[in-house]
Structures are given as structure tokens and as C-alpha cells.
């Protein structure tokens, strides 16, 4: 392996390029017509166009990405997150083209990508799961009423092929169930090409806590502790931290054990995340496993000092990692990440595309890391994700990390798109947040004070 094609854009493409460079590997960026002058293109050693602005015709086109790899002579592919990162067909096609796939085996991606199947595999590994139903295919709602009653309300209707907050609807009573199931099936059919949905008990109030794992492909796996991801809007995370405030150490340890037993059962290869919902009594249940590097991985990197992307690449390259064991993971202090989005919190987080007329980032100092894929003058286009930057701070304890975050957020200068920076800043000062009293209802419950 000497040249890596990064099949992504924005901050994660820039971040993967950095780790490739630290390992002495050349890099190839891919870009749509809208991204020809993007930062990730400028950073890479070379670049290949892959199609028009619309992601479905460029970043999501397997054939175009493989053509770019062949044209550039790349011999490995890193998918980042989103786009094709959890597409088993892509992973397989990369391997079939004689290139190294920097990610889990295609079979694992398939198993975990089907959220209903993943539930059963987790259960088989002894991981506690939520009450749930078998799948319902479009046009066949037979047994739905009974399944709803068995799972209990409130519940979530979830697309089997979904994940990351997409294709999920809440239902509070039996009367509304058939309509929501049909709507979610239609949405899932359109978004994922697979209309299957299932029901899962909704735990509320609850926290989302996930365990970062790293598997070596032979049944051996280590964990890099937890990330608390409860501060969300529209089922999507905006603030993550580690350790999870107030989580009993024995509960965190039990979650890590559960995540490792699933990783071992799957002979998991590379970086992965096992997500759990944690109830008021700190009882935890499996939600899903993400077979990719996560947006919020820097939280773990800041706390453990491990470069997760470099580790992914070294494993794929065949480096000897036999001495990289659990004892190597010694977390220190507290880390927090805030996602800066182009959106208007006061308009129910309405996306806010536009040109970055002014874009000045805080200067990175000790305990402050900024991951961004943009420069002043760049366009935040409606075609792609609204994330402008990630701010990650680290401190000796939670208060120190929060303090550094507050200062960093105040140093941003952005004109053009509206952003959620003022909102994030207010969260840092919020009494409940400061006290660690957080759950997935935090944003909704505190809207008036934060906007």
C-alpha cells in the first residue's frame, strides 16, 4: 500500500489525508463538480473528478470511484463516514478490483447494516437488546397491531436499512401505528431502496452512550471506552463527550464487555462503534453497531491519544499490531466535541446553505482541536451535509473541557450561512448540562432558554 484514495469530502476527507501523510502514504481526493476547488482537493497529492454536484451521481457512484482509483493508481480506499462507508457492495467491489478496503469485511457491513438482523446478532452475543418486532415489508402489515402491543408504546418505527437518525419515526399510540409504518416504509424505499421496517421500544428519557471498539479481524478486539452522545436534535448528535458524566464505572465496564463480545463474535475488523440506549436506572440496551469511523471519533482520540484513522490504515496495510492490546489504552481527562452546523436553531434547525463570506477558525492550542473541510469563500451547498466544523476540547476534568469549549466557540467568526454556534455556547453554560443532567430530550426541553 502506498497510495490511498479517500472516497469522501469535507472535514473527514481532510482528516484521513492527514493520517495517510503521517504514515508516509500518498493520497488521492475525489470531488464532484461543486467541490473542484474544495479544501480536501487542495490537500491531497492528486485529485479525480467523479461526477456532478448531486451526491447520487458522484460520491455515491461506485463505478465512478473505482474508475478514479484506477486512473490514479491508488491501491487502497478509505471511505470516511457517510456516502459509501457502509455500503457492502462498494467494499466488495473495491476488493474485487484488487484494491485494499480500509474497513470491516463486506459481510460484517451487511450484517450490521440491516438493523433488525444486527439486533438478533447482538442478542446472540449476549448483549441486552430492546423489545422489538420482526420486519414488516411494504404492503404487508399483517400482525402489526399485535406486534405494536407486544413491543409497547411509545415505540419507534425504524427502517431496517436506516441508521444515524434517518428513517425513524416515533409513535405514541396504537391508532397512529399503521399510518406511520406505511409512511416510514415509503420513505425507506426511497432513501435506501429497501422498504422493510421494524418496531422497537422507545426508552424516554434516555441517554445515548456508545463504545468505541477496534477489532483485529481474528476475533481479538479492544475497546477505547465510551462516548456520551445524548445532546441531539432531529435524532442527530450535536455534542459528544467522554467519559459519560455520571455513568457508574461498573455500568461503563459492562457496556464495554458487551460491545467486545459482539466484536469478537463477528471477528470484527477495524474501527467500529456499538451504540446503546441507557435508561434512568443505568440499564443499557443495544441500539446498533456502526461499521465505520464515526463523526465523533476525535473525542476518543483526544482522551486516549490513539489516532483511530491511522490504526485503521495500519491494520489494512498488514502492519503487525499484535502488541496493540487493551493495556495500551489509558484514557486521561475529559474531551468534548461540538458540531458547528449551517442551520438556524430558532427556525427548528432549518438548514442554512450559503457562501462563507467570512470564515475564521479559533487557533488550535493545547487541548483544542478543530476539524474542518472549508476555507473562507467556500460554498456550504445544499447538496451535502450542513456540518461546517467540529470543535474538540480536552481538559483535566469536565469543567476544564467545557471552559475551553466556551472560549473556542466565542472565537469563531462566520458570516454567510447562519450557524448554531450561539446555541452551542449557551448549552455550555446551561445548569443541567454543567451538572451532567442530560438525556436525548435535552434540546427539546430547554429550547426556549437556548435559542
Amino acid at each position: 500500500m502506498n497510495k490511498v484514495l479517500v472516497a469522501n469530502r469535507g472535514e473527514i476527507a481532510c482528516r484521513v489525508i492527514r493520517s495517510c501523510r503521517s504514515l508516509g502514504l500518498a493520497t488521492v481526493a475525489v470531488h464532484s463538480e461543486a467541490d473542484a476547488k474544495a479544501l480536501h482537493v487542495a490537500m491531497a497529492d492528486e485529485a479525480q473528478p467523479v461526477g456532478p454536484a448531486k451526491a447520487a451521481d458522484s460520491y455515491l457512484k461506485i463505478g465512478n470511484i473505482l474508475t478514479a482509483a484506477q486512473a490514479s493508481g491508488a491501491n487502497a480506499v478509505h471511505p470516511g463516514y457517510g456516502f459509501l462507508a457502509e455500503n457492502a457492495d462498494f467494499a466488495r467491489a473495491v476488493g474485487n478490483a484488487g484494491l485494499v478496503w480500509i474497513g470491516p469485511r463486506p459481510e460484517t457491513i451487511t450484517d450490521m447494516g440491516d438493523k433488525e438482523r444486527a439486533r438478533l446478532l447482538a442478542k446472540g452475543a449476549g448483549v441486552p437488546v430492546l423489545p422489538g418486532s420482526p420486519r414488516f415489508l411494504p404492503g404487508d402489515l399483517g400482525g402489526l397491531d399485535g406486534a405494536g402491543a407486544a413491543v409497547g408504546f411509545p415505540l419507534l418505527v425504524k427502517a431496517s436499512a436506516g441508521g444515524g437518525g434517518i428513517g425513524m419515526r416515533r409513535v405514541d399510540d396504537a391508532g397512529g401505528l399503521p399510518e406511520v409504518v406505511a409512511a416510514t416504509q415509503a420513505m425507506a424505499e426511497k432513501a435506501f431502496g429497501d422498504g422493510a421496517v421494524y418496531l422497537e421500544k422507545l426508552v424516554a428519557p434516555a441517554r445515548h452512550v456508545e463504545i468505541q471498539v477496534f477489532g483485529f479481524g481474528d476475533g481479538r478486539a479492544i475497546h477505547l471506552h465510551e462516548r456520551e452522545c445524548s445532546i441531539q436534535r432531529r435524532f442527530q448528535k450535536i455534542i459528544e463527550e467522554s467519559p459519560a458524566p455520571g455513568l457508574a464505572p461498573e455500568v461503563g465496564a459492562a457496556m464495554a464487555e458487551a460491545a467486545l463480545s459482539l466484536a469478537a463474535q463477528e471477528r470484527y475488523r477495524g474501527a467500529g462503534t456499538v451504540e446503546f440506549v441507557v435508561g434512568p436506572d443505568q440499564d443499557f440496551r443495544f441500539l446498533e453497531m456502526n461499521t465505520r469511523i464515526q463523526v465523533e471519533h476525535p473525542v476518543t482520540e483526544m482522551r486516549t491519544g490513539v489516532d483511530l484513522v491511522a490504526l485503521q490504515i495500519r491494520l489494512a496495510r498488514g502492519d503487525d499490531l499484535s502488541e496493540f492490546d487493551q493495556a495500551r489504552i489509558q484514557p486521561a481527562g475529559h474531551a468534548i466535541e461540538c458540531r458547528v452546523y449551517a442551520e438556524r436553531p430558532e427556525m427548528n434547525f432549518l438548514p442554512s446553505p450559503g457562501r462563507l463570506a467570512v470564515f475564521a477558525l479559533p487557533v488550535e492550542t493545547e487541548g483544542l482541536r478543530i476539524d474542518s473541510g472549508f476555507r473562507e469563500g467556500d460554498e456550504i451547498t445544499f447538496h451535502y451535509d450542513p456540518m461546517i466544523a467540529k470543535v474538540i476540547t480536552h481538559g483535566s476534568d469536565r469543567d476544564a473541557a467545557i471552559g475551553r469549549m466556551a472560549v473556542a466557540l466565542e472565537q469563531f467568526r462566520i458570516e454567510g450561512p447562519s450557524t448554531n454556534i450561539a446555541f452551542l455556547r449557551k448549552v455550555m453554560d446551561h445548569d443541567d448540562f454543567r451538572a451532567g443532567r442530560i438525556d436525548t430530550g435535552f434540546v427539546e426541553a430547554n429550547k426556549t432558554g437556548l435559542i
Partner: protein
């Protein structure tokens, strides 16, 4: 009151939920844009009847401020 609902932001037209002749109430969803991987529903401002729909499902890159649905 006759009014026209315009697109709030640029995006792709994901779903059109009404057609000319439909009676709508204030707050009813008329169409949904797909912007930055997010569904952005647009609703009727007042009760009325849809007299014209100027956008189609699948339209891409519709500018902000585009007249989308007329209601009388």
C-alpha cells in the same frame, strides 16, 4: 386570502403532497424539500384551495424564494 408559498431555502423537491383543487388548512404540509440530507416541509399559511403547483417531485437545485404553490 390568496397566497403563494415560496421555497424557504435552495434544495431538491423530495415530495409534492397537494394538487390543484385540493382544500388545505393552515399548517397543512404542501411539499417537502430535501436540503443538506434534511427533510424541510413547507406548509400552508392559511386555509384555502390549491389553484396551482409550480414544482415537481424530483426537481433539483430549486432556488430559495421560488413560487411553489398558489392557494386562494
Amino acid at each position: 386570502m390568496a397566497h403563494t408559498v415560496h421555497t424557504q431555502i435552495p434544495g431538491n423537491v423530495w415530495k409534492v403532497l397537494v394538487k390543484p383543487g385540493d382544500k388545505v388548512k393552515a399548517g397543512d404540509e404542501l411539499f417537502i424539500l430535501e436540503v443538506m440530507k434534511t427533510e424541510v416541509p413547507h406548509t400552508a399559511e392559511e386555509d384555502g384551495e390549491v389553484t396551482a403547483v409550480h414544482i415537481n417531485e424530483g426537481d433539483e437545485g430549486v432556488d430559495a424564494g421560488t413560487a411553489a404553490v398558489d392557494i386562494s
